[in-house]
């Protein structure tokens, strides 16, 4: 083994410049792969974080996944009813306080009651469709970042006026409403209400900031024209990644449809899968191209060292030994390339992370980057594997060489 490594090492040293180029090729591939992965993962994480922070991890609504069985179905086996038209008027969650009290003991997070009403906001000559979310400011901190996302006022401002309302900052810009402005809310059921703007919030998620408004639960119930109505329970967990499992359990225990953020954004999640697929393809291509360099140098060395190979084989070194020498050389390039690539990748990430960018779509002024040893591990393994594969072919050819053919030619 030692012999194989020693000879491989002398070959590498004898061709320092060319092996250097091959190592640089692999290193570039590994470095940029790491940077790519870090950037893609970072932006994805950042996006999910914003998304997760902008909405409840689990939303329990006053719907059921399956329509309730109809009397006819209960009495006659043959009866089956499809496409039931749901009741126009939703009843809300029954006994919301008792339901919440039943969930709270085991729920690893907070829960808060909400009334959600669709309304049109009218102000000046603007009409904007808005999701009006009625909340309990004392509980809000346990289910969302809203208290932290307030601009110009605190959540407590909701108590300051009758029918106080807090608007998303983009929504307020759109309609030109400032603090103190009196706006009109109107629902499709014909309810109409005047409300006073007492503050703004900014989540960073555009769709939320331009079409959401917060009011008190009591105000929401008046707007929905249903006293005592709670039509949504919002849950935030310590660990958002377990939302699916918790949502399933909540649904089993309450019977109400509980939707985790992952379920609500299934399309987004699947687009991440596609994004990652694209990333792996590109990264794979980069590393593949880098392995061409390894192939090149190993073939060159085997050609140059044909005489040495013939000598070794004539002395009685086995095919395996000779092949291993060149596979080891390829691995040396792979390992050195990966090592240099790790440093390069890290520096690229640090460099990218220090660039300030101004974007109307992003809240942050730095590129989001995720540092994970997995990126390094994967890029390293792929680089090493592709180097070995690239070196194997010329190594095998060299090992099969008949020494006597070379010796005949040389004498």
């Amino acid at each position: 083994m030692n012999l194989i490594f020693d000879i491989a090492w002398t070959h590498v040293l004898a061709r320092l410049r060319q092996t250097g180029v091959a190592i640089a090729g692999v290193a570039t591939g590994v470095g940029f792969s790491i940077m790519m992965a870090s950037l893609m993962q970072g932006s994805q994480d950042d996006f999910i974080k914003q998304l997760v922070n902008a909405m409840p991890h689990i939303t329990v609504s006053d719907e059921r996944r399956a329509p309730p069985p109809q009397p006819a179905e209960r009495f006659y086996d043959a009866a089956e009813i499809h496409n039931l038209t749901p009741e126009a008027r939703r009843r809300g969650i029954k006994n919301p306080l008792a339901t919440m009290a039943a969930l709270e003991p085991w729920l690893p997070g907070g829960i808060a009651p909400t009334v959600r009403v669709q309304a049109i906001i009218r102000y000046a000559s603007h009409d904007v469709a808005t999701a009006v979310v009625a909340i309990d400011p004392r509980r809000e901190a346990s289910v969302s970042d809203l208290p932290k996302q307030m601009r110009g006022a605190t959540l407590a401002a909701l108590y300051r006026a009758t029918n106080a309302i807090i608007l998303g900052d983009r929504l307020s810009e759109k309609i030109g409403a400032r603090i103190g402005a009196n706006i009109t809310l109107q629902t499709s059921e014909g309810a109409r209400m005047n409300a006073q703007v007492v503050g703004f919030f900014h989540t960073g998620v555009r769709s939320v900031d331009e079409s959401t408004a917060y009011v008190l639960v009591k105000t929401g119930q008046i707007l929905a024209q249903q006293t005592g109505l709670i039509n949504e329970l919002r849950i935030r967990l310590g660990d958002p990644m377990i939302s699916r499992e918790i949502a399933d359990r909540v649904e089993r225990e309450t019977g109400y449809k509980s939707v985790s953020w992952q379920e609500a954004h299934e399309d987004l999640m699947s687009s991440f899968v596609i994004r990652n697929l694209i990333m792996f393809t590109v990264v794979g291509a980069i590393l593949l191209v880098a392995s061409f360099g390894t192939y090149n140098i190993i073939s060159t060395i085997t050609h140059e060292k044909a005489r040495d190979i013939a000598i070794m084989k004539s002395l009685g070194l086995s095919e395996f030994t000779v092949r291993s020498i060149f596979v080891v050389e390829a691995s040396i390039i792979g390992v050195a390339g990966a090592a240099v690539g790790f440093v390069l990748g890290y520096l690229l990430c640090v460099g990218l992370g220090s660039i300030e960018i101004k974007s109307p779509f992003l809240d942050t002024d730095r590129l989001p980057l995720a540092y994970s040893y997995v990126h390094y591990l994967l890029a390293g393994i792929v680089a090493l594997l592709s180097s070995v594969v690239a070196g194997y072919q010329p190594a095998r050819k060299a090992a099969r060489l008949h020494p006597v053919e070379i010796i005949r030619g040389a004498t």
Partner: protein, 240 residues
Amino acid sequence: MSIDAATPLIEARKVTRILPGIVPTTLVSDVDLVIRPHEFVAITGPSGSGKSSLLYLLGLLDVPTSGEVLIEGKVTTVMTEDERALARLTMLGFVFQFHFLLPELTVRDNVTLPMRALGRLSREQMLERAEMLLSSLGLADHMKKRPDQLSGGQRQRVAVARSLANEPPVILADEPTGSLDSKASEQVFEVLQELVAVQGKTVVAVTHDLAMAERMDRQIELLDGRIISDHAHPAAQAPA
């Protein structure tokens, strides 16, 4: 291992080697030959008569087109490439016309190379043996040098040391003195002579120095790939 003096060490039976091609070239034709232990054999003949080709066949570097080469009575044509490689490593020592040392390795590492490939000795034992071999060939001062820092004669002696690395019973040498001046030639010849006389090795050496061939036990003469004469030299030094 002890070798019965009667058992042939190397035996060629009707060995023919034809290089395929548009015009096939016959390198060696219908050669029958027996090499016995402790012999010091010269192979002579004009250039192109097939001396090297025959040596490669006897040394298992090449495979006959027809016929058999036997080493210690074992048929080698049915062996795999790796089995032949192992036989070369343990049974046969080669000295080529040109030294054929590995240029990147030191003299000492060139000599330990076959030992390391075989892996039967410890590292210390290998170094000790390499130093012993090189010292006995007058190369004690050159162990750490690279082959290109040596003279032709010195290189050839390193090649001899290397061929002895795994203590093979047979040394095959292809014009070991071909590229050397008369003084260096004489030195290398004496080394080979001593291997037979003192260490009881078997040496088969290709040479076109007829005076040198005269001083060996037996002379085999080739012409156009065939043996045209094979006779002993009673006048040559008797084995020790």
